[in-house]
Structures are given as C-alpha cells and as structure tokens.
Amino acid sequence: MSYRYKLFHLKDPYKLEGTDDLFVKAMKENCLYQYQHCPDYKRILDSFHFDINSLKTIDDLASLPFIPTLYFKHHELYSMPKKRMIVKATSSGTSSGIKSKIGFNAGSLLLAFAMVRKIFAYHHIWSLKPTHFIIFGYEPKRTNQTAISKTGYGFTFTAPPLSKDYAIRYVDGKYQVDLENIKNKLIKYSKGKAPVRTLGFPAYTYFLLRDMKEQGIFLKMPKGSLITIGGGWKQFYAEQIDKKAFYALVKEVLDIDEDHIVEFFGAVEHPILYTDCKAHHFHIPVYGRVIIRDVNTLKPVPNGKMGIINLLTPLVKSVPLLSICTDDIGILHDEKCECGLNTPYLEIVGRVGLSDIKTCTAGAEDLLKEMKI
C-alpha cells in the first residue's frame, strides 16, 4: 500500500497531529515518481540541485522546488500518457485569461473522492433529503473543461437532486448569464418544502441577492437550505464587500443563517478541498500542507506573517503538482479556533499584482474587456 493511499485514507481529515511523517513519505514517494516520469520536472529539480533523499522531515518540504501556477499556464507537465488522464480540467483563467491544463488519472481521482467523502461528512454536507440545486456557474458541456464547471456538476451529487439550475446556460451554441431565471427559481422553491443548495462564485451570488433586495424580494428558504460558495472573493475587491456583509445579505434576502453558508477553497493546480469551519476558517486538512513565503525572498515566513501561498500535496500522480505557488497572498494562523479544531487555518488576504493599480491605458482597456472585442 502506497504512502499516498494511506494518507488519503486516514480516518479523521483534520487530525493533523502525528501525520507529518506519513505526509513527508507520501510526498517523497510521489516526488520520486515525478522525477522519473516527467522530464521537465526532473530538469527543474536538477536545476536547483535538489536531492529527493533530503526530504526527511516536514520542514524539509520548504526546500522542494515549487512550481508557480503561472508556469502551468505555459507548459503542460505530464508524468503519464494523456490517455490515462480520464479527467482533464483547466483553471478559469480569471487573472490572465490563460488557463492551466491539468489531467487527472483514475488513481488520483479515487484518492480525491476518498478525501471529498470524508471532508463533506465532517462538514455535514451529505444529505439524503431531495434537494433543488442552483449553480452560480456554467451549465456542464463536454467542451467546457474548467475545473469550476466540473466541481459545480459534482456538487449536485451531495444530495438526491430534484432539479439542477445553472446561472450560466448554454443556449444556441454559447454561454449566457441568466440570473433572472435563477431568481424566479429561488422564488418558486421558497414556496416548497424541499431544501435548496447553491454553489458558485460569491460575486454572482452576491449580485443576485443585492438585486433581489433592491427589488424588495425577501424570501424564506426551506429548512436545511445551504449556500455554498467557491472560486474566491477576488471579484469582491473592487466592491469592498466583506464576508460579514455577504452573510448578512443572505440572511436578509433568503433567511438562511450564517451557519448554513459554507465556503470552499481550492485550485485546479492543487485539488485539495479546503472547507471553512463554522467560524469561517479554512483549516488545513491532513491531505495538504501550506507554506507562506516571503514576498521578497520567497523563503518561508513564520505563521501569522503575510506572504505568498505555497500549497503542497502528494495527491496527483499524473502531473507534478507536489508543491505549487498560487498568486494568492495569505496568512497561516495558529490561533485557537472557536470551532474546536486545533490545526492551523489559512486566511486568503488577496492576490499578488494589485488589481486596483491602473497603468496609463488600463482605464481605457476596460472598454475592451467589457466589449469583449
């Protein structure tokens, strides 16, 4: 039995204590595989004169050369034939428009399912109650390979689905945003008894709820309804909306309490499921580790300090995703959490690159983006 298998079949997804040794062994095992099967990865490790045998303790993982997500946008790194990758996914390309292409083999997917099963169980996401699903995202299409569309579809299996509605529908060969339809469905479902579950970018959810509030539409969603959000708050930076304001809006418009709002965090280049606790903290599960790196030196900084988020996991075998660096800035907290978990939790502060900085032409470039020419 591989160390990876053992790690992803640990009973408690948040009992980090005592798992460091297994985590390092699983990382080393996968690292060796990648080194032997992915020539580009081998070249990267060699260019840093990295010796895989130096991976002995959890602290040694900081010296494993990481790959920025930016690199995946320009290079396809595969460690096995493409035909073995039964699921292919891309990032959403929100910051640059260029997408990372990642493929997942069956073994990696099975481990991922084991992880999802346990994390959803811990957070009481599984339900046997027939449910209406509303996805603030893309209607699935074979041609749409974004991870966000795949996870949106996957989410509709967390309870027996009575209906599935998508905010971005595929009509006449192209995608169209149709929030009006979602609003009407919410109104309709609020009159029934079956709970409703939503998933999607917080911004879309927020904009719809804000419009409903402006239109004086205030609903009482059936008991057990759940608002889940994922894909980051980056669209919110310009709006200056904080999470508390979002929770208050959900309560006001849909009458759903804060403890029924769940947020997910993950990336196609790091497919570990981070789910916020009742205090809305992303605790680190046993399947991954997080290193925060200094913005000047890229060296690890102590917990509590802000820096670039480096995510590590041995989950995927088909692509060397062992240690990747996102373009998010965050803080790893050690403070005791009111939810009772004592593993560190990750706070995502923003993105590198300053979304609010405008160059000489940026203002006018808005025109282009909005016109989609």
Binding site: V295, L298, G350, I357, T361, D366
Partner: protein, 425 residues
C-alpha cells in the same frame, strides 16, 4: 451621474438625452460661437484660485493619501494648471494660429476653427485626467462629449461642473456621460455625433474604437507609449541612483516611465558587467526608498522565479528587496513587469533606428546618458527612430509647460484652418 447643460443628472435620463443630442449639438454650432482659449482660461483661473486656497481639500487630500502623493508634488503639478502656465501652453501650442485670421493672399483669409465635436474616451489611471482631456478640447473651442472611465471617482465631473458654474456659456460645450462600455450602441451613437474621437488607450482599445467608429470620424490616439533609458558605460553611479528614485516614484506605471535600459554595445560580456554594476547601485539605493506595495513585490518575486524556471538558470537575473534586473540578449523594446523591474539589453547606437523604428508608434521618452561627444549623434538617431522626448536619465516623467504630447500639440490637433474668400467683402 451625467453632466448635461451644466446640471448633474441621474443616469436614467442618459438614453433620452443621447437620442436628442444631435440636434442640440447642431444648434450650438449654428449659433456661430465657440469659446476662445482665453475665455476658457479665465474660468480655469477662478477654479485654480479655489484649489490653492484649499476650497477642495476635502476631496483632494484623501486622494493624495490614497495614492501616497506628497502634498509638495501636488502643489508642483497644480502649478501646471495655473493661468500663467496654461496661457503659455496655449501660446506655444496654438503658436501662429493665435494670430489668425490672417491673409493668405489678397482675396483669402485663414481662420482657426475647432474640429467641432470631440468625443473623449479617457483612461482612469490618473484622477481628473478625463477633465484635463476635456479642457484641452475646450481650449481649442470644441464641443466635448466625455465618456467617464469605469470606476471614476467623480472628480472630473466636479471640475467640469464648476467650470460651467463660473462661465455658463460653456454649458453647451461640455457633456459628460456615464455609459458602461457594454452599451456599445450608446457609445456608437456618441461617436457618430463626433468629428473626432480622442482615445486614451493602447493598440487594442484603438482597434476596438476603429471597429465602431464611422470612417468619417477622425481618431486621435493618446497612448499607449513605452519609454526607456539609453546609456553607455560612462553613466555615473549618481545618475543610476537618480534613475532608481524615478522608477520608485512612478513604479513605472506611466507611459513616460523607464521600462528598461539599453547599453550602447553589442558585447554580451559588457552587458553582463554593466547589469551587475547597475543592480548593485540601484538595489542599494532602493533600500533608502519607501518599498513597493506587498502585492506588487509578490507578483514580481513570482515572475522572477518563473523566469528562472523558463530560462533553466538564474544567470543574468538579479533580485533583492523588490528590485529586479533581467538581462536579455535580444534587442526588442518591451514593457517591464513594472514596480522596480528593469530589463537590460544591448543596442549599439548604429542599430538604434533599425531596432526601434518598427515600434515608432509606441515610442515616447528616453532618458539618455552617453559621453559628451556622442550626445548629438545619438539624440538625432533616437529622434529619427521615433522618440519624441529625450531627457536626462531620471527625467523622463518630468513635465514642462508647453511641451508636446507624444510629439504633437493637442490644441493644434483639435483645431483646423478654414480659408475664406473675402474679395466681395
């Protein structure tokens, strides 16, 4: 918010106003009046006095704080808008046009007229810039339609409203619309009503405008430009230190900001030695300066690391405390990563024209430092390649009253000459 006949109105009235705007503009033109530059200057004088007497501190001071601009710098830039400065701008830019009408021959006189209706699609990178674009249009007597950039903070509309309050005759010459760029049909309507469109944006924006603008509408493009430094090995340590201050003050976000340094050589060894020397000097100098924002540093650190992966080596790459230097072996002009990142390339002066000429539409300023006997020759080569401003190494973003904008005078560009037969008069 929109500004229509000197009144600030709700956006909901916009479509109705745009629908009937054509007739109104024609009526204004048919009255035969357009403001003279000196009439506009009189109105600006009043607002300038109000600004320096702190009437607008409640708006200006928070903006300075937000963008971390020292008040002394604001006072300096504000002086560029003093009546004396703008009068000088008018005199230099319009030049001999100010002496019109004048005789062309015994039966013909020449007279200056505005282009007519100017549609400004302004960038939002500098607060108040959209109003500056409109003021240039007004100084040349045009009717101005302004599309506010998204995220505009209201400063432009406030300035223009005040201008009309001071001189109500200007109300028929200033219209501000808050049209989202998604409303292509409204933008096209405004473009169709205009004689010229002043666009502040890059190639892609210009391309987009060309696609919706009618063939008869003139497009006047301001930007996007790239600036750089050109040096030889005689460049002093002090000059490089001064350059570092200039990089930090604009974070290389302006069209006039130095993006990289060309060294007058074709030797890669000389290039490497210079890059090392340059980095040692500027990285030390950087420690004396206020650091870049953390997100900018993070972005450049990741780009730097990615460059190491791409190049398969760290040779020719330098990074310390948010300053980075990237040695490149090609000659091509390009933008940097900004926020204190410089590329360093070789470019023997004999190749200046052949390398840079193909970018002629993007060239703006060059900070020059070469040995004295080569200055004239190299200045001439840079000008022939298409550069429009040649300054000291650290002075590419300096502003001088009366200087040209990207090599031309806007007030002249916004004007036209009409010849009239007077033999029967």
């Amino acid at each position: 918010m929109i500004l229509y006949h000197g009144e600030i109105l709700n956006n909901s009235l916009q479509d109705k106003i745009i629908a009937s705007l054509g007739d109104e503009l024609n009526n204004t033109l048919a009255k035969g009046y357009f403001p003279s530059p000196f009439e506009v200057l009189e109105a600006i004088k009043v607002i300038y006095q109000e600004v320096i007497n702190h009437k607008y501190d409640n708006i200006i001071l928070p903006l300075l704080k937000q963008y971390d601009i020292p008040e002394s710098m604001f006072v300096h830039y504000a002086s560029l808008f003093s009546p004396e400065s703008l009068k000088r701008k008018v005199e230099i830019e319009l030049g001999d046009y100010l002496n019109l009408p004048s005789k062309l021959d015994n039966s013909t006189i020449r007279e200056r007229y505005p282009l007519g209706v100017l549609f400004h699609i302004a960038a939002g990178n500098v607060d108040g810039l959209p109003s500056y674009s409109v003021i240039e249009g007004l100084l040349s007597g045009n009717i101005n339609l302004l599309k506010l950039p998204s995220g505009d903070n209201g400063l432009s509309i406030m300035i223009l409203k005040r201008l009309i309050d001071v001189n109500p005759r200007l109300k028929d010459f200033i219209y501000v619309f808050d049209v989202p760029s998604t409303e292509v049909s409204s933008i096209k309507k405004l473009a169709d009503l205009s004689d010229a469109i002043a666009v502040w944006g890059g190639d892609l924006v210009n391309k987009a405008v060309r696609e919706f603008a009618d063939i008869k509408t003139k497009i006047i493009s301001w930007g996007h430009k790239v600036s750089f430094a050109y040096v030889d090995n005689y460049v002093s340590d002090d000059e490089l230190k001064a350059l570092m201050h200039s990089l930090a003050s604009s974070e290389q976000l302006l069209c006039s900001s130095v993006q990289g340094i060309y060294l007058d050589t074709d030797s890669l060894d000389e290039l490497s030695a210079f890059a090392k020397r340059c980095f040692d000097i500027i990285s030390k100098e950087n420690l004396k300066l206020k650091p870049s924002p953390i997100a900018a540093k993070g972005k450049n650190a990741l780009l730097f690391y990615n460059e190491i992966l791409e190049r398969k080596s760290a040779k020719g790459l330098y990074l310390d405390n948010g300053v980075s230097v990237i040695v490149k072996e090609d000659y091509e002009l390009e933008a940097s990563w900004q926020f204190r990142n410089l590329w360093i390339k070789r470019l023997p002066h004999e190749k200046i024209v052949s390398v840079l000429k193909k970018n002629h539409d993007h060239l703006q300023s060059v900070g020059l430092s070469v040995k004295k006997e080569n200055i004239s020759v190299i200045q001439n080569l840079l000008a022939q390649a298409g550069l429009s401003r040649i300054t000291k190494l650290d002075q590419t973003s300096r502003m001088i009253i009366g200087e040209a904008h990207d090599g031309v005078y806007p007030l002249k560009v916004y004007s036209r000459i009409v010849e009239k037969d007077i033999s029967k008069l």
